[in-house]
């Protein structure tokens, strides 16, 4: 990771010095051991604040809208796919972006790591594939591969799809025979079990909307749950309203979600929001051979009309 960090700082410094960009959007060290925070760097002396490690789980494509001037952004595989989605959906022109690509080796599941401890983790560091963690009662040395986030384990686009610079050599991509084992498991449930599964999933939801707000494709100026004329959804803790939010948000993401995992990363209640979105990703893949954010020239399948559509109903 240190070589990545050095390269990120070097490239950022160069871009700022030559005034090719007005700011660089990346990650900085947080105040907690496994926390990092998105940051915008506009001064040359501040590039030292930029870091990169296995806890940079948020998606920086969520931070590239509404800037003046050209900006640089640090992009993992998934961030780059959401940048493509942003460009295709006219949220930012390609020319306004300088993409510093990071071949990603996966992000860690912080909840899973934290669950090994009864008390708070006070130190975190990593050395290649080894994670070192310390609380006031114990220390753990973990193999990073055992603690990858679920979406990272299933990721087939670790390398940035689009970039202007790279901070390291491209990594090997995996191909999976069954890329959606989790969705299949839910599909195989009977209706009642399925319902219980989703009910249990949202049980502790406090409707803070961290999932939605961390999501790079949830950029609607007014989300349907915030609309008041007409009001589509109740705002309280009624189960139906809570579930309606999650179901509808997932459908709005159909064919656009890159499974970056930012929603799960952001959720303070550890809700596996991906259980909602992944089914739509699978359907897009099976029905339209579509994976979001791979092609600058194609609009998402539910946003495109084609006379050659294979489905009969459209003819």
């Amino acid at each position: 990771m240190d070589t990545y960090i050095n390269k990120i700082r070097e490239l950022s410094l160069k871009l700022l010095k030559k005034k090719e960009v007005v700011k660089v959007i990346g990650f900085t060290k947080g105040t907690l051991p496994m926390a990092t925070s998105p940051i915008a760097i506009s001064l040359e002396q501040d590039v030292e604040k930029l870091i990169f490690n296995s806890t940079c789980g948020l998606n920086l494509a969520n931070y590239i809208r509404n800037h003046k001037g050209k900006i640089a952004v640090i992009a993992k595989g998934c961030d780059s796919r959401n940048i493509i989605t942003h460009i295709v959906e006219n949220q930012i022109p390609r020319e306004q972006l300088h993409i510093i690509g990071v071949p990603c080796k996966g992000m860690i599941d912080k909840t899973k790591v934290a669950s090994l401890f009864d008390d708070d983790i006070i130190e975190f560091s990593e050395d290649n594939d080894t994670l070192l963690l310390k609380s006031s009662s114990k220390e753990e040395r973990l193999n990073k591969q055992d603690y990858l986030r679920e979406n990272c384990k299933l990721c087939m686009h670790k390398n940035p799809v689009i970039y202007d610079d790279l901070v390291g050599d491209l990594v090997d991509e995996q191909t999976l025979d069954t890329p959606y084992p989790d969705v299949e498991q839910i599909e195989n449930m009977d209706a009642d079990t399925k319902w219980q599964h989703f009910d249990k999933l949202t049980k502790n939801c406090i409707r803070c909307y961290a999932c939605r707000n961390a999501c790079p494709i949830c950029y609607c100026p007014t989300c349907f749950v915030d609309e008041s004329g007409p009001q589509w959804v109740g705002k309280g803790q009624d189960k139906t309203d809570v579930n309606t939010f999650h179901f509808l948000r997932a459908f709005h993401c159909a064919g656009r979600c890159t499974d970056c995992g930012a929603c799960v990363e952001a959720c303070p209640m550890d809700i596996n929001v991906r259980d909602f979105t992944r089914k739509l990703n699978k359907d897009s893949f099976e029905l339209f051979e579509w994976e979001a954010g791979l092609d600058l020239t194609k609009r998402p399948p539910l946003d495109a009309y084609s006379p050659n559509d294979p489905n009969d109903f459209i003819k």
Binding site: G30, T31, L32, A35, T36, S37, P38, I39, A40, L58, N62, Y63, T111, D118, D119, D120, I122, S136, K203, N204, I206, R207, C208, Y209, A210, R212, N213, A214, D226, S228, G234, K235, G236, Q237, D238, E265, A266, C267, P268, M269, D270
Partner: protein, 350 residues
């Protein structure tokens, strides 16, 4: 002041006994940590917990609460006349809450129970509730409660404070409500006042030694609102914010709410829900104008309210008890400790 010794072997029996008079709430483990929940039959509070994901505020101020109801059926004489919703205000006891959460209730009380306005829902719930605290022997690394006027053995807002002494609890009875609860449990082993207080003092000092996280608030009062409001750091603090409501919802002192009317067939209910100043909708006017339209304005508002406006208005310190929940839950790690220190040390450049 009265001290009672409770053998842990007798704890469960006493708690069971109290159910004749009280509905009980206490820490319960759920899938992502502990929550203060209503304790159903056969449920005991998990007194070995360290801290809870959500604070105790929901016992008095539920995230969603029915406040008024009416019928739209015009055949009924009282149709369209709002009446107070039926809520059970029989005695409640919340067990094992941490002292910083009790202090938070006292801060919230400054808003809901004033000479001019009394929020009937909150006040009735408060009146009905007995707060049984549990001193925190080993505060966590992100607990900064001792620099907010609270602390691991702070008694403010509590009716009883328990100290965990391995095989027993030592209970310090602080109010009449507390006395009534202890009596309802049948705990009657009186401990020596002087020795017990000395023990509490030792425990408090030991616990405070564990607190490594601190903030400075000493200069907040002397600065003008405009001085801090116009400080140059707000855009940087706000950049990473995604404007979710996590910080405000996990906060034990955030009290803002929104009113909604919901109708199902002929039954109409007026509901109040927690609201969050992080959401643009919080201040959006019916005209479409939003006086707090930008992320920076909203982030600044939250910190200014907690650390400056509240301080100035009530002169009771800051509206933060140092529980560290928002620090740990924030998806982008915006840290109130850092922001507070920035505000406190800010000097305007001439």
């Amino acid at each position: 002041m009265k001290f009672i010794t409770i053998d842990k072997k007798d704890w469960a029996k006493g708690i069971e006994k109290s159910r004749k008079t009280y509905q009980l709430f206490g820490p319960v483990k759920d899938k992502n940590g502990f929550f203060i929940k209503s304790l159903g039959k056969d449920m005991l509070p998990d007194m070995d917990y360290h801290d809870s994901v959500m604070s105790v505020k929901s016992v008095l101020f539920p995230q969603t609460e029915n406040i008024l109801t009416t019928t739209l059926d015009e055949a009924q004489e009282d149709h369209h006349i709002m009446k107070r919703a039926v809520t059970d205000y029989s005695p409640r006891a919340v067990l094992g809450i941490r002292p910083y959460d009790a202090k938070a209730i006292e801060l919230v009380k400054l808003n809901f129970d004033t000479d001019d306005y009394k929020d009937p829902y909150w006040c009735d719930a408060y009146e009905a509730t007995t707060f049984v605290g549990l001193g925190l022997n080993k505060p966590g690394p992100f607990d900064f409660s001792s620099s907010t006027g609270s602390g691991p053995f702070n008694e403010e807002g509590l009716d009883v404070l328990l100290a965990d002494l391995d095989d027993k609890y030592l209970a310090k009875v602080l109010t009449d409500k507390g006395e009534a609860f202890i009596k309802a449990c049948g705990f009657d082993l009186i401990a020596d006042d002087k020795e017990s207080q000395a023990l509490f003092d030792i425990l408090r000092k030991e616990a405070e030694k564990n607190i490594v996280s601190k903030i400075s608030t000493d200069k907040l009062k002397e600065k003008t609102i405009l001085e801090i409001h116009e400080a140059p750091f707000w855009d940087d603090i706000a950049f990473s914010c995604i404007n979710c409501g996590t910080c405000t919802f996990v906060c034990p002192t955030c009290w803002c709410f929104d009113i909604q009317d919901e109708t199902k067939r002929k039954a109409s209910t007026r509901i109040r829900n927690w609201d969050t100043c992080m959401s643009p909708l919080f201040t959006k006017h019916a005209t479409g104008h939003n006086p707090r339209d930008t992320k920076t304005q909203r982030v600044r508002q939250r910190f200014m309210h907690k650390l400056k406006y509240f301080f100035d208005k009530y002169d009771q310190g800051i509206m933060c008890v140092g529980c560290g929940r928002c620090v740990k839950s924030c998806p982008v790690n915006i840290d109130i400790r850092e922001v507070c220190n920035m505000m406190n040390s800010y000097e305007k450049q001439e």
